[in-house]
Point group: C2
Chain length 396, copies 2
């Protein structure tokens, strides 16, 4: 008797559950230390000490009615100010508390933005490969997800190809850089080209097209010279969605924000709509205690060196064996071409070696797998020879 | 360029904002101490000390990766167990961790339940007067809110009248007891009659009709002999939504749960759907730190005596003056008949006396106002003579 729309999602979810159970069984039979699970994007780093210290200080020092109480649905004004100031300092932007909405993580933020902007039938463009949950978020507001095919082998979007997919119903383009699942960071030239195409299409169709910049991985960057451009500086109709889930290793706490360009069309009306959407979708507001913590920790970042070491071991290790890998400049994912055409077949073969991976087809791009390297360095070391044996088996 | 559906909501929201600004202006002109604001349902009690102590202990004692990390979208298993045990102990029920979903407050929980169950066009029945946000939640899933008219003067629903409003498309009935805005607690006999009507209608139409028991005020009860019946014991197709916002004075923290009858139709499929809905609506999971706190504070309650004193002063005070009030057995609202027919007119008149109230028409029931008495006892004492003057003015 569940809703029609939920039926397929529930059955997909039971497939994932089955995979998870399968992994647990493997661990029982072969020992957990021999199973290399690269399937989960779950930070395995502790939050910086300063985060817990700030939480304790907030609880001790701040008035409990204020601390645990309701505030404006968009968040505490001082916290939004702190976030705005931090962004302005780091990216030479012009945000104020008025342009920030605190959100229940990045997923909450994207749902709020879609609710505020999209009408049923509106088109949301994503570049394959893409985070599969975008399908659900678009479906929540009856919008249509339109997939721009992958630009192989760079996996950097081609703005001219994008242009072919824009119609009068296009209202949003999702840009996710550093990218899940590829780890690729889109260069400034790409952002400039995309902005140009969107400006032209807005004029051509007399519509507004919004970029939603989904940036939970913004701080997870391994090369100081390859930082993701801050998109509000290139394109006015931009909403940036952020979460501290990865940068502070707080995924369970559900704390993030939306930052809206002050030059976006109908700025004030949109900010009201985001505020109302936060309320009526049932979030009401981002968790208050975590907001207070952010007021004290806005510029903290967890120790990314941990992920960088894993990235280097896996990327160079697998490449030397003969795997074709995309070098990830950010996030904690490695995108690997499967040496056999069918990615799901490769994922099944890999299980024989106790290697758990996710097929690229789950991200709208077959023929690849995603390895999530938020795992221990030991897991990487145990996994490398297994990947070698697997390749040898395939190549005969 | 915001979504069509948002336009009216944004304009309503600016009306509320205007009221809020008006209140601030009044405070500036007349002094904050002279303005009596009964408009906000925002707990003004501090959370019990044990809550902050538990938060500090959790931060100190528990592994930070676990504490701030992802868990099953339905919540930590031990926390769900603790909630189930607490309910079983208190209400002689049979919940297990499998029947509990931790939610981002009661609003989050209701949205998750509606997403899991409702198809576009399904009908959701509410008894007037009702919490206005239900309109938005039903609209989020394209369901149709059907209003059962108020049963004046008791404001206890009449099951026989309810029966006339049930159609083959009825899929949910919301029961909110203790009630916002009336403070009324529905007696056991009413719950039994409603259950009987719903059982009959399910048979008649070969449909399933779910009760959603919205119970954020369950612990706010002023008479030990008038406790709200636990509805899963009377009707199998029941989902209970709870929040600690009021009972622990934590409205900003967004922590609550759904408890599902083990005898509900398609129990396992529904639990999966609730789990998936939590994920895809963007909540992902209830805030992890607050879940860990609940594991230690599940049976704590803030000092309700505070509200009881306000209730008594207001209820007896206004009744003696000649106002017709519904005696609230629970929640922190007083429902008062307006001495002139038009409630909005009365609300405007009251402003002259610096009394801020909410018209009943905002809850689908004109001719009444709601006074929220989560205010200081001093505010009540200052307000009483003002209400008297107001009545004298009206009665000439």
């Amino acid at each position: 008797m569940i809703a029609e729309k939920m039926k397929e999602l529930v059955s997909n979810s039971s497939v994932i559950r089955k995979m998870f159970e399968e992994g647990k069984q493997m661990a029982q039979i072969h020992g957990a230390e021999n199973v290399c699970d690269f399937s989960l994007g779950n930070p395995n780093l502790a939050a910086p000490n300063t985060v817990n210290e700030a939480l304790e200080a907030v609880i001790k020092e701040e008035d409990p009615v204020f601390l645990h109480g309701y505030m404006n649905n968009s968040g505490y004004e001082d916290v939004r100010n702190t976030v705005a100031d931090s962004l302005n300092r780091r990216f030479q932007t012009n945000f104020t508390s008025e342009s920030i909405v605190m959100t229940v993580g990045a997923a909450g933020g994207m749902n709020v933005a879609m609710k505020a902007l999209l009408n049923p039938g509106d088109e949301v463009l994503v570049f394959a490969p893409f985070f599969g949950e975008y399908r659900c978020y678009a479906s929540n507001v009856e919008a249509k997800l339109v997939i721009v095919p992958p630009n192989i082998p760079s996996f950097i979007p081609d703005a001219h190809i994008l242009a072919n997919y824009i119609t009068p119903r296009t209202k949003m383009v999702i840009i996710n850089s550093p990218n899940n699942p590829t780890g690729v960071i889109y260069p400034e030239s790409t952002i400039i080209e995309i902005a140009k195409v969107l400006e032209e299409k807005q004029k051509e169709y007399s519509t507004e097209i919004y970029i939603f910049a989904d940036e939970p991985y913004r701080e997870l960057v391994y090369d100081e010279t390859v930082k993701p451009p801050f998109i509000t500086k290139y394109y006015d109709n931009t909403i940036v969605g952020y979460s501290w889930s990865k940068s502070l290793s707080l995924p369970g706490e559900r704390i993030g924000y939306l930052a809206v360009s002050e030059n976006i069309v109908d700025f004030k009306e949109l900010m009201s709509a985001l505020n109302v959407a936060t309320r009526i979708l049932g979030f009401v507001n981002a968790p208050s205690l975590q907001q207070r913590m952010i007021a004290r920790c806005v510029d903290e970042v967890a120790d990314l060196n941990f992920y960088k070491k894993n990235r280097d071991s896996l990327y160079y290790g697998l490449s030397e064996m003969g795997y074709t890998c995309i070098k990830p400049d950010g996030a904690f994912y490695l995108w690997v071409k499967t040496p056999i055409a069918k990615d799901t077949e490769f994922v099944d073969l890999a299980k024989k070696y106790l290697l758990l991976t996710v097929p690229g087809s789950a991200f709208g791009c077959g023929g690849y797998i995603r390895l999530s390297y938020c795992v221990s360095p030991e897991t990487v070391q145990i996994a490398l020879p297994k990947f070698n044996l697997l390749l040898e088996e395939i190549e005969g």
